[in-house]
């Protein structure tokens, strides 16, 4: 079975994000780039499916040349090859443009099953895998916490809040997005890193795929970036305990507006 994984390179959660001078993006000079953490669960699941049913695991990633580093990490974990969408024609794409490009690339590569992280931790848009599924006319199950495959029938579980679990049966081909807890992603071992060097990497341009992507085709435009307002200092209440409780309830209702 040809198993695809949609993988995104994102800033390390420990990086300090600064907005660039033109306020149209972030400064990426000092940023350390990592594989989106949810995508690691997707890679692991794909590798587990491969070891159960055979086939190959193909990593799909759209981004600048450095995105190959993230793909190499997945190759070092055990994926077989990577497809990189690295071209000016993709720059400035919105979620639809990214999804259309990835969907086309997956089609070109004969992919029969797709995994992705439930969201990317940079922009948290939570859109691309769902749109990919829509464009491919495949069912999509999001934020899955368990995965069992029997032939072309897959049973997944989703944590839907309030301690409830939803169980869904899906027929392949399909798109699944991984939640934390789906599995324990393996490490990129040192022998894996050595092997990853010689694994094949294919590149597509927007023209190769014949897709409408890039800033010119984006339906969503970004007006600017700004930092969230700094958090105000905490307050410690004093006085009698009873008065403190009353004051706390009042503040929670009037200032924090959480009650």
């Amino acid at each position: 079975m040809n198993i695809g994984v949609l993988l995104k390179q994102v800033p390390d959660t420990e990086s300090r994000i600064k907005i660039n001078g033109d306020a149209n993006g972030i400064e990426d000079g000092d940023i350390k780039w990592i594989v989106n953490p949810y995508d690691e669960f997707a890679v692991e699941q794909a590798l587990q499916v491969k070891s159960a049913v055979g086939g190959e695991v193909v990593i799909f990633s759209l981004g600048s040349s450095r995105t190959l580093d993230a793909a190499r990490t997945a190759l070092a974990m055990g994926a077989d090859r990577a497809v990189i969408l690295d071209d000016d024609g993709f720059a400035g794409s919105d979620s639809l443009g990214v999804a259309a490009s990835l969907a086309k690339a997956a089609q070109e590569e004969g992919i029969e099953l797709l995994f992705a992280g439930k969201q990317a931790i940079d922009d948290d848009a939570v859109q691309v895998p769902q749109i990919v599924g829509t464009l491919l006319e495949w069912p999509v199950a999001t934020a899955i916490s368990s995965y069992e495959q029997d032939g072309d029938s897959v049973t997944v579980k989703r944590e839907v809040g309030g301690g409830q679990t939803e169980v869904i049966k899906v027929t392949l081909p399909a798109v699944f997005t991984a939640d934390k807890g789906l599995n324990s992603p393996r490490y990129a071992s040192l022998p894996g890193i050595m092997k990853a060097k010689s694994k094949p990497v294919k590149r597509y341009t927007a023209d190769d795929l014949g897709v409408e992507a890039g800033a010119d085709n984006a339906k969503v435009t970004t007006d600017g970036y700004h930092m969230p307002p700094p958090r105000p200092a905490g307050r410690i209440l004093d006085g009698e305990l009873g008065d403190q409780v009353k004051e706390l309830v009042k503040l929670l209702r009037q200032e924090a507006k959480v009650l």
Binding site: A76, Y187, A188, S189, L190, P191
Partner: protein, 386 residues
């Protein structure tokens, strides 16, 4: 490491950087969270050797036919630098004893059988290795070790004891220094010693002031018989083999001191932006800014001395002088740097709440283990003809 002073030295390829990062990730997830717990227990789970083996950490320079990666000394350098992120020098030491102190000599001069029985499972993390050289009356003074091996037929019969043996309480085999001949350095041999031999026993697990998660043992040998073919290299040439082996061990120790103190200084500088006293962040006081500027300068000098030694060793050039200097310089410097880092944290530094307390305690070993600073100076005295 991601510090601004991380080297862009040509020998570090993207592959070396990926290796350093992989080791760092492994340490952050598999070791650092349990660092305090394992220190309290005085040991870490034996499964960690297997995990490290699966990660490929235990045979970086070992030929792939024995399960290693067949990489160079720069890969080992990246490994040692990445290991500092385990926040536990005891665990790091246990792994380095396995990967870089007890086994390289087997790789270098062992027979096929010895590699198959000892090296291969050590690289895989299936067997735990220890290096058995030191004794109560022969620490730095290796030439006077007393543990005796008599050749009887096609066996060696070993009697004596060893002390301060890392991984000693659970080693599956020991790269063992024994006396097979005359007094002095000309009568020493090395053996690969499997610990399931009759007459072998573990005495005390020693209480130490640092590296708490690592077991350090006293070992006894009472008429232990091993096949004569377990001799490592040539009989009575053991002193030379040990000295060769020490070069790698000391280089790894120097690198580990350098990387450890740099990490501590970087963390202290970060802490200095968060902690205020007398109305400003403590890192803004000139006395500390200057102190850290001095330390970063000295660490940078130490780094390039280490890298010079790595380069020589990697190219198979004589490196004893530079390795000895690197171990002396970085081991001694680390004491001053860690002292200041701990001082900088004030009362918090003296508690066990911050990693700096543990780092300060653990770093103390580095002027003692693998040959003391005084021994390093004696080696240099001889080499320089002083």
């Amino acid at each position: 490491m991601n510090s601004p002073s991380a080297p862009a030295f040509p020998p570090f390829t993207p592959e070396h950087s990926a290796l350093r990062q992989a080791v760092k990730d492994f340490c952050i997830k598999e070791i650092a969270p349990y660092s305090e717990e394992w220190d309290k227990e005085g040991i870490f789970p034996v499964e960690l050797f297997k995990k490290a083996g699966e990660m490929g950490l235990l045979g970086i320079r070992v030929d792939p036919s024995w399960g290693g990666l067949g990489m160079d000394w720069w890969a080992t350098t990246a490994y040692v630098e990445g290991l500092t992120y385990c926040e536990n020098a005891g665990v790091a030491m246990a792994l380095m004893v396995q990967s870089d102190m007890a086994t390289p000599i087997i790789h270098e001069i062992g027979t096929e059988e010895q590699k198959d029985l000892f090296l291969k499972p050590a690289v895989a993390g299936d067997k735990i290795a220890a290096l058995g050289i030191s004794e109560p009356n022969a620490g730095s003074d290796v030439a006077n070790l007393e543990c005796r091996a008599r050749k009887v037929g096609d066996e060696y019969v070993i009697s004596g004891q060893k002390l301060w043996i890392t991984n000693g309480t659970r080693a599956d085999f020991i790269t063992l220094g024994v006396r097979t001949g005359e007094d002095g350095f000309g009568g020493i041999s090395l053996l690969t010693f499997p610990t399931d031999v009759k007459g072998y026993s573990i005495g005390r697990k020693l209480d130490k002031i640092g590296n708490l998660a690592s077991d350090t043992a006293e070992l006894f040998f009472d008429e232990c018989r091993v096949p004569a073919r377990f001799l490592l290299g040539q009989e009575n040439m053991g002193f030379y083999h040990i000295m060769t082996n020490f070069q790698g061990e000391r280089l790894v120790a120097a690198l580990s001191a350098m990387a450890g103190m740099e990490k501590a200084v970087r963390e202290a500088i970060q802490y200095g932006t968060e902690r205020s006293a007398f109305g400003r962040p403590i890192g803004k006081f000139q006395v500390w800014r200057h102190r850290f500027a001095e330390h970063l300068t000295a660490i940078e000098a130490g780094r390039w001395l280490c890298y010079r030694a790595v380069d020589l060793e990697d190219r198979g050039q004589p490196a004893t002088r530079e390795i000895t200097m690197a171990k002396l310089f970085c081991g001694d410097l680390a004491q001053r740097v860690m002292y200041d880092c701990m001082q900088f944290y004030g009362g918090f530094g003296y508690t066990t709440e911050y990693p700096v307390g543990r780092a300060w305690r653990d770093i103390r070993l580095l002027t003692v283990g693998g040959g003391t600073s005084e021994v390093m100076k004696e080696i240099l005295v001889k080499m320089e003809g002083l």
